[in-house]
């Protein structure tokens, strides 16, 4: 694959340097490549910390800023950072009201988080963990360990971050984040492979006339390989799986996000969103908020993740609350 890079061993440090240069008004680097807010949150508020591999830009660090993440700990390409940096981030982030630590369900991320939580307990830190596992391709809700954390972390940062900015306690922030977590679902589809930027090798293959539903966000294949479908057919298959998972019914209100994973155009995502809105409307389900963007990418992989969450008034208000990060700004008006 053709990419604009320099030494493959320096990808992460260089991308972070460039990110900090481009968005100096909003974020900066601190310590050992921790991404922190340019203007820290007021003392006495709960802080949001997260960690995960790089190569998914803008996620995760693109959402550091007012109303979302306080400190993000970016790992190497597709590889979660080790516990020491995460622990450092948690200590730095705590403004006296404790830290909500958002973890995506991937083997390495979770093992790191477990070690971090053990260490934090030993050191008496005030930190609570929340695990996202909303990939419906992995299995039913009753088997959370099989469900990966996909783009759902991004709206979850928004919900939790807004609650924290309001001055809610750590338990309250955790509670509303868990409410959102329990009501969200994601499903991914891929059309073309991603290449690993360090090795330059494609991570998987897809025949010219096939797509794969249930794809992971690191090139890990899914189980739904099938002939390429139209936008409408794809949208229908996917939204129906999500609606079933979150048990959405007539009268429910949804937040629906389409997350481009790389080469898929907004044009295509809009066309898919159109059908999603139609399917929901036919079932009497209201899409109250929406978005089509690249929130969490998988290098240049063509495809997208479809995300849906059941919303109540509290969650809608938190989604609409102000945020000021490089890749998600909400005016709050």
């Amino acid at each position: 694959m053709k990419k604009f890079i320099n030494d493959p061993d320096n990808l992460v440090s260089e991308l972070l340097e460039g990110y900090a240069a481009a968005y100096a008004k909003k974020i900066k680097l601190e310590g050992n490549n921790l991404v922190v807010r340019a203007t820290p949150k007021a003392a006495g508020k709960v802080a949001i910390v997260t960690h995960g591999g790089s190569g998914h830009e803008p996620a995760l660090s693109g959402f550091v800023g007012e109303g979302m993440i306080d400190i993000s700990v970016p790992g190497e390409i597709f590889a979660a950072p080790g516990p020491p940096r995460v622990l450092d981030a948690i200590k730095r982030a705590d403004l006296g009201a404790g830290v909500l630590f958002v973890v995506l369900n991937h083997s390495g991320d979770v093992m790191t988080a477990n070690i971090v939580m053990e260490m934090a307990a030993k050191q008496g830190l005030n930190v609570k963990q929340i695990l996202t596992h909303e990939d419906v391709a992995g299995g039913p809700k009753s088997e959370p360990e099989n469900r990966r954390g996909l783009v759902g972390c991004v709206p979850l940062y928004k919900i939790a971050g807004a609650a924290a900015e309001e001055g809610r306690s750590l338990d309250e922030v955790l509670a509303v984040a868990e409410k959102f977590n329990d009501n969200m679902a994601t499903l991914a589809v891929a059309l073309t492979p991603a290449s690993h930027p360090s090795t330059g090798e494609f991570i998987f293959e897809l025949p010219e006339d096939e797509m794969e539903i249930g794809m992971g966000q690191h090139g890990e294949a899914g189980t739904g390989r099938m002939k390429l479908k139209s936008a409408d057919e794809t949208a229908e298959i996917m939204i129906n799986m999500l609606l079933a998972d979150i048990e959405a019914k007539a009268g429910d209100k949804l937040l629906v996000l389409l997350n481009g994973t790389g080469a898929t155009t907004l044009m295509e995502m809009f066309i898919v969103f159109r059908k999603v809105a139609q399917v929901c409307a036919e079932k009497g389900i209201e899409v109250v908020r929406g978005g089509c963007d690249e929130y969490l990418t998988v290098q240049e992989m063509a495809g997208f993740q479809m995300f849906a969450a059941k919303m109540d008034d509290e969650l809608i208000a938190l989604w609409d609350a102000p945020a000021d990060t490089p890749y998600l700004t909400v005016s709050g008006k």
Partner: protein
């Protein structure tokens, strides 16, 4: 032929592991691409890359300190699934080795048993689940049998390497129950697990250095 593992021997083992894994890291990446995210090669290279730093940083001659430093260095790496597991393994070795300046075959086996127990607190994966445990568990068992049978460290490591290799090869036809490959179901079959393979490389390098 090394009969007990002191500081110098451990350094030799670690350096041998570093050389072998870095040498084979592209292959490990390809194995990981089969059902995972293709980064196990670069991650192992990065993990091994910090070993020399840990050796340099640790107090010359202090075996438990060396193991602790290596454990923390591995934890400190951006290591995906590998860093926490390997780091935990070495921290387990270090705790077991506390107060000892050299480990004979029995102590060496005991150290690995402690390391394995520490790893098992981090993951529920068992042999058969297509993870590095498929190499680690039989390797530790081989160390124990060798020690119980009166063999020296070198022979014990040779048996362990063979057991780890057999375990890694056997993962080829397994269906993954942990890690990124889990979501592939049946399609995870057909290629050996990356982590089991790198674990077998570590034991093989240890065995060669001890021979």
């Amino acid at each position: 032929m090394i009969q007990s593992i002191d500081y110098a021997a451990m350094v030799a083992l670690l350096r041998a592991a570093e050389t072998k894994v870095i040498d084979k890291h592209e292959w490990l990446g390809q194995l990981d691409a089969y059902a995972g995210d293709g980064d196990h090669g670069t991650t192992m290279k990065r993990a091994m890359g910090c070993i020399e730093t840990a050796i340099g940083a640790s107090a010359e001659g202090d075996l438990p300190a060396l193991l602790t430093d290596v454990g923390w260095a591995l934890l400190g790496v951006d290591g995906g699934s590998t860093g926490p597991l390997l780091g935990t393994l070495f921290n387990g070795l270090a705790e077991s080795a506390a107060g000892q300046s050299a480990l004979d075959a029995a102590a060496f086996a005991a150290a690995f048993e402690a390391g394995l127990a520490a790893v098992q607190r981090q993951t529920k994966a068992q042999p058969g689940d297509k993870t590095m445990m498929d190499a680690l568990v039989p390797a530790v068992q081989a160390l124990r049998s060798a020690a119980d049978g009166g063999l020296g460290v070198a022979e014990a490591l040779d048996n362990a390497a063979a057991a780890a290799e057999a375990g890694a090869v056997a993962t080829t036809d397994m269906q993954a129950k942990f890690g990124r490959a889990r979501n592939l179901g049946e399609r995870s079959k057909g290629s050996p697990d990356a982590g089991a393979t790198s674990m077998s490389l570590l034991f093989r390098a240890f065995a060669e250095a001890a021979a």
